[in-house]
Amino acid sequence: MRTSVILQTATRFLQPLLLLFSFFLLLAGHNEPGGGFAGGLVAAAAVILHALAYGVESARRTLVVDPRTLIAAGLLVATASGIWALAAGKPLLTGLWRGGLGTPLLFDAGVYLVVIGGTLLMVFALMEE
C-alpha cells in the first residue's frame, strides 16, 4: 500500500488524541455523553488510522495483543462484572457501588474491549486480503 507522509505525520498527532478521547468517552460515559460503545469505536478508529498510515503489520505491533484476545478479554470482564453481583448474593448484573466506582464501569470496559476487538478483527482481516 502506498503511504502518505502527510497522513503519517497527522496520525502521529491524531492517534494519541483519539485514544485519549476514547478513554475519556469510556470514563465519562456514566454521566456525560459517551460510554463503552462509542469509546470502543473511537479507539478502533485510532488503530485503523494507524493501519491506514503505516500498514496493518505496524498496527498489530502497536496493539500488542491480538484482536481476538481483546474480544475474549472483554467478554470475560463484562461477564465477571455481572457475576460479581451474583457472588454478593444479588441478581446477576446488579450494579455494585463503592464511592464513585461501580461494577457498571467494569461492564462498560468489557463492552469497550469487545467493540475494539471485534471491529479490528474484521478490519484487519479485510485489509490483509
Partner: protein, 762 residues
C-alpha cells in the same frame, strides 16, 4: 445429600488428572468415591425406618422448581446399588482398559453417569428428575461411543441417544402435564392427590407420555433395539449402564409413579402388556444370539420386560416380586457382563461357538460367572431362585385380566435358562474352544466385580435379613407397607412346580438349540423390525434436510438476499396492512431551518449514491447520508447516539473501501429485466422501512418507560447519562447478549475471510 449426589460431578473433571498423576492406583482411588457415597447412603438409610428423609435446596424458586431429594425405601435400594456397582465398575475399568490412552476419560464419564443416576433416583422434584434423566442419556452417549474411532460404536451411541432422547422429550411433556394438573412438581406432594389426578381428563395423556419415556429408557419393545447395539461399549460400561443402572431408570420411574398413576386399567394394560411382550420376545431373541454380550443384552431386555410386567400387575405379590427380581438381576447381570468382558479380553472373542473350557484357565472369572448363572437360572439356594419363586407367585396371583401371566413367565424363564447355559456352561465347561489358546486369568481389579456380585447373588439367598432392605422399597411402590416372605422353602406349591417346569423346558431348549434354531429359520426382522424403522426414519430426516437445503441454499448471496428481503416485505405488508393499517404520526409543524437543510443533505447524498458510477463514490455518498442522520440525532438532543453514529459511519466507509478495493471495475452485467426487478425489491424494502419507522413513532402500545429511567437513573444507578445507564445497568443483560453477538459476528467474518480455498485468486 447435595454433596453425595454432586461428588461424582465434582470429581469427574479431575479424574483424568488423577489418572495421569497416579496411573496405577487411579482406579482404586477413584472407586473410593462411589464406595464412600454408598457408605454414607447406608448410614442415612439406617435412620429411615420405613419413613422418608427429604432435602430441599432452592433452585429456580420463581418457577417452583427446587432441587429436592427424597430418600425412602425405593430410592435407597436403587441408590445403594448404583453406588456399589459404580465402585466395582470403576475398579474393573482400571483393569479392562489399562492400556487405553483415554482411561482417565472413562473414569470421568462413569463418575458423571453415576452422579446423574443417583440424582435421578433420589430426586423428588419432577424437573430435577428430568434433568438428571437427560444427563444419564448424555453421559451414556459418551460411554457407548467410547471407542469413538469405530463407526459402529458411534452409530450405536447416536442411536441410543436418539431413542432415549425422544423418550426424554415425551417424559418432559408428561411431567409438565402432571405438574399442571397437580399444581406441584414435587412427587411427595403429588402422591396424596393420586385419586384426583387419575380422574383428570389429561391423565391418560400424562401417563402415556411418562410411559413413553420409561419404555424407551428401559428398552421395552418396540424401542428395545438400541440396547443390543449399545454392546459396542466397553464391558464395564455395558455392565453398569445396561445391567445395573441406566436401563433400570425406566423401571424405577414406573415404580416411583405407580402409587400416583397406577391402579387404573390403562396403566395395567399399557405397562403389563408391554412388559409381557418384551419379556417373551426378549428371551426368544436372546436365545437366537450367538455373541456373548448380545445374548446378555437381549436377556436384559427380557428381564426389564419382566419388571414392567410385574409393576403393571401391581398386586402386592407382584410388587414384592419386582423388587426381588430387580435386586437379583443387578447382581447376576452385572457379574455376567463383567465376566463376559474378562472372556473377551482374554480369549479375544465373544463368539460362544468358539469358546469353551475356560474354567481351567480363568478359575475366578468362572466362579463369579457360574455363581451368577445359578442365580440367573433360578437354581436354589441363589437369590435368583427366591426372585423367581416370587415372580411366579406374583404371576399366579395376577388379577383377572392377566391369567396368561404364569405361562408367559414360564416360557420366558425357559428360554432364559437356556441362554444362561449358553453364557456359562458352554463358555466355561467342556472341551477347550478354538479361541482358548491364548486365554489367561484377569487381574484382581477385573475379578473384584464379577466375583463379588456373582457370589453375593448366590449366597444372599441364604441371608435372612435381606427382607429389611427390600421390604421398604416394595412398600413405597405399593403405597402401603408390605411383608416380603422370602424363603427357600414354601412347601409344595404351584410356583415351585412352575419353576421346575421352566427348568426342565430350559434344559431341553439348551440341549436342542441347534435343531430348534434350524427349524425356525432366520428371523427376517432385519428389514421390517423396529431397528429398520429407526434407520428409515433417520434416512428420511437426512433426505428431507438434503432436499430443503438444495432448494434454499443456492450458494448465491444475491438469491439469499432476495429471499430474505422479499419474505420480510411481503409478511410485513400483509401483516401490518391487513391488521390495522399503518398508524402514521401527524406531520411535524415546527420544523427548524437547520433540520430542513440536513434532510435535504441526506436526500441529496442518497440520490448521489444511487446514480454514482463508481463504487467509492457510492460509498462516500452513503457515508455522507449517515453523517446527516447523525446530525439529526445531535440536534434532537441525543449526543450519545450521534457520537456512535459518526464513528460507525466512518468505520463502515473504511470497511466498505477495503472490501471493495480488490473488486473489478464497476460494470453492468444484469439484463434490464433483472435490473427492474432489483429496483422493485429495493424500492419496496425502502418504502417498508420508512413506513415502519413512521408507524413505530406513531404507535404507543403503553406509556413510554423513558420517564422511569430518567427518574431512577441517578438515584438507583448513580449515573446522569440515561442512555449509558440503560446500557450498562438497567438493560445490562441485553448488552451482554449484544457484545456476544458482536464477538461472534466478528469471528464469523474473520473465519469466512480466512476460508478462501488455497490457490484461488478470488
Amino acid at each position: 445429600m447435595l454433596f453425595a449426589v454432586a461428588s461424582g460431578f465434582l470429581l469427574a473433571p479431575v479424574a483424568p488428572a488423577v489418572q495421569r498423576r497416579w496411573p496405577r492406583p487411579a482406579g482404586w482411588l477413584l472407586s473410593l468415591v462411589p464406595f464412600s457415597v454408598a457408605a454414607w447412603l447406608a448410614l442415612a438409610g439406617s435412620r429411615l425406618d420405613g419413613g422418608a428423609l427429604r432435602w430441599v435446596y432452592p433452585w429456580i424458586p420463581s418457577l417452583e422448581i427446587a432441587l429436592s431429594f427424597r430418600l425412602d425405601g425405593l430410592s435407597f435400594l436403587f441408590a445403594l446399588l448404583i453406588a456399589l456397582v459404580g465402585g466395582l465398575v470403576i475398579l474393573y475399568a482400571s483393569g479392562y482398559l489399562q492400556a487405553h490412552e483415554h482411561l482417565g476419560r472413562i473414569y470421568a464419564w462413569l463418575l458423571v453417569f453415576m452422579a446423574s443416576m443417583l440424582g435421578l433416583v433420589l430426586a423428588d422434584n419432577l424437573i430435577a428428575l428430568f434433568v438428571f434423566w437427560e444427563l444419564t442419556s448424555l453421559s451414556s452417549y459418551l460411554l457407548i461411543g467410547f471407542y469413538h474411532e469405530r463407526e459402529a460404536a458411534r452409530a450405536a451411541a447416536l442411536q441410543a441417544l436418539v431413542v432415549t432422547g425422544l423418550g426424554g422429550l415425551a417424559l418432559l411433556a408428561g411431567f409438565v402435564l402432571l405438574g399442571r394438573i397437580g399444581a406441584s412438581f414435587e412427587l411427595s406432594e403429588l402422591s396424596p392427590q393420586a385419586a384426583a389426578l387419575q380422574e383428570h381428563p389429561l391423565y391418560a395423556a400424562a401417563l402415556l407420555l411418562v410411559l413413553a419415556g420409561a419404555f424407551t429408557k428401559s428398552a421395552q419393545i418396540p424401542f428395545h433395539f438400541w440396547l443390543p447395539d449399545a454392546m459396542e461399549a466397553p464391558a464395564p460400561v455395558s455392565a453398569y449402564l445396561h445391567a445395573a443402572a441406566m436401563v433400570k431408570a425406566g423401571v424405577y420411574l414406573v415404580a416411583r409413579v405407580s402409587p400416583i398413576l397406577g391402579g387404573t386399567p390403562l396403566f395395567f394394560y399399557a405397562v403389563a402388556g408391554t412388559g409381557a411382550v418384551t419379556m417373551l420376545l426378549g428371551a426368544w431373541l436372546a436365545y437366537r444370539q450367538s455373541y456373548l454380550k448380545r445374548m446378555l443384552a437381549y436377556s436384559t431386555v427380557s428381564a426389564l420386560g419382566t419388571l414392567m410386567l410385574l409393576l403393571g400387575l401391581g398386586t402386592p405379590a407382584a410388587v414384592n416380586a419386582a423388587v426381588a427380581v430387580f435386586f437379583a438381576h443387578v447382581l447376576y447381570k452385572g457379574s455376567l457382563f463383567l465376566a463376559a468382558g474378562n472372556v473377551e479380553h482374554a480369549a479375544g472373542t465373544g463368539e460362544v461357538s468358539r469358546l469353551g473350557g475356560l474354567a481351567r484357565v480363568m478359575p475366578f472369572t468362572a466362579l463369579g460367572a457360574l455363581a451368577a448363572a445359578a442365580s440367573m437360572a433360578g437354581l436354589p439356594p441363589s437369590f435368583g431362585f427366591l426372585a423367581k419363586e416370587s415372580l411366579l407367585a406374583g404371576a399366579v396371583d395376577a388379577p383377572p385380566g392377566a391369567t396368561w401371566a404364569p405361562w408367559v413367565a414360564v416360557a420366558a424363564s425357559a428360554f432364559l435358562i437356556a441362554v444362561t447355559g449358553l453364557v456359562s456352561l458352554r463358555v466355561f465347561a467342556g472341551a477347550p474352544g478354538q479361541a482358548a489358546s491364548g486365554a489367561h486369568e484377569a487381574s484382581p481389579a477385573m475379578l473384584a466385580g464379577p466375583v463379588a456380585l456373582g457370589v453375593s447373588g448366590l449366597l444372599l439367598g441364604l441371608a435372612p435379613g435381606l427382607g429389611r432392605l427390600l421390604e421398604p422399597a416394595a412398600g413405597v411402590v405399593a403405597g402401603a407397607p408390605l411383608a416380603m416372605n422370602l424363603g427357600l422353602w414354601h412347601g409344595w406349591n404351584l410356583p415351585l412346580g412352575l419353576s421346575a417346569l421352566s427348568l426342565a423346558a430350559g434344559l431341553l431348549l439348551y440341549a436342542g438349540r441347534d435343531a430348534a434354531l434350524a427349524a425356525v429359520g432366520p428371523l427376517g426382522w432385519g428389514r421390517f423390525g423396529p431397528a429398520a424403522w429407526y434407520r428409515a426414519a433417520m434416512q428420511a430426516m437426512l433426505k428431507t434436510a438434503d432436499v430443503q437445503t438444495r432448494l434454499l441454499q443456492s450458494g448465491y448471496l444475491r438469491s439469499y438476499l432476495t429471499i430474505v428481503v422479499a419474505t420480510v416485505v411481503v409478511l410485513l405488508f400483509v401483516g401490518g396492512w391487513g391488521r390495522r393499517g399503518w398508524p402514521l404520526p401527524a406531520p411535524a409543524e415546527d420544523l427548524r431551518a437547520v433540520e430542513t437543510l440536513i434532510v435535504l443533505l441526506v436526500v441529496a447524498s442518497v440520490a448521489a449514491a444511487v446514480v454514482s458510477s463508481s463504487r467509492l463514490g457510492a460509498i462516500a455518498a452513503l457515508g455522507a447520508a449517515g453523517y446527516g442522520i447523525a446530525l439529526i440525532f445531535l440536534f434532537a438532543g441525543a449526543p450519545d447516539l450521534a457520537i456512535t453514529q459518526f464513528v460507525v459511519e466512518t468505520l463502515v466507509v473504511v470497511l466498505f473501501v477495503f472490501a471493495f478495493y480488490r473488486l473489478p471495475r464497476f460494470a453492468r452485467f444484469s439484463p434490464p429485466a433483472a435490473r427492474l426487478r432489483d429496483l422493485v425489491f429495493a424500492a419496496a424494502t425502502g418504502a417498508l422501512m420508512s413506513l415502519l419507522t413512521l408507524a413505530a413513532a406513531g404507535t404507543a402500545l403503553h406509556a413510554p418507560i423513558s420517564g422511569y429511567f430518567g427518574e431512577w437513573a441517578y438515584l438507583k444507578a448513580h449515573g446522569r447519562n440515561i442512555v449509558n445507564v440503560i446500557l450498562v445497568d438497567f438493560r445490562a443483560l441485553d448488552t451482554l447478549g449484544e457484545i456476544t453477538v458482536i464477538a461472534v459476528a466478528a469471528i464469523g467474518v474473520y473465519a469466512l475471510l480466512g476460508l478462501r480455498p488455497a490457490g484461488s485468486g478470488k
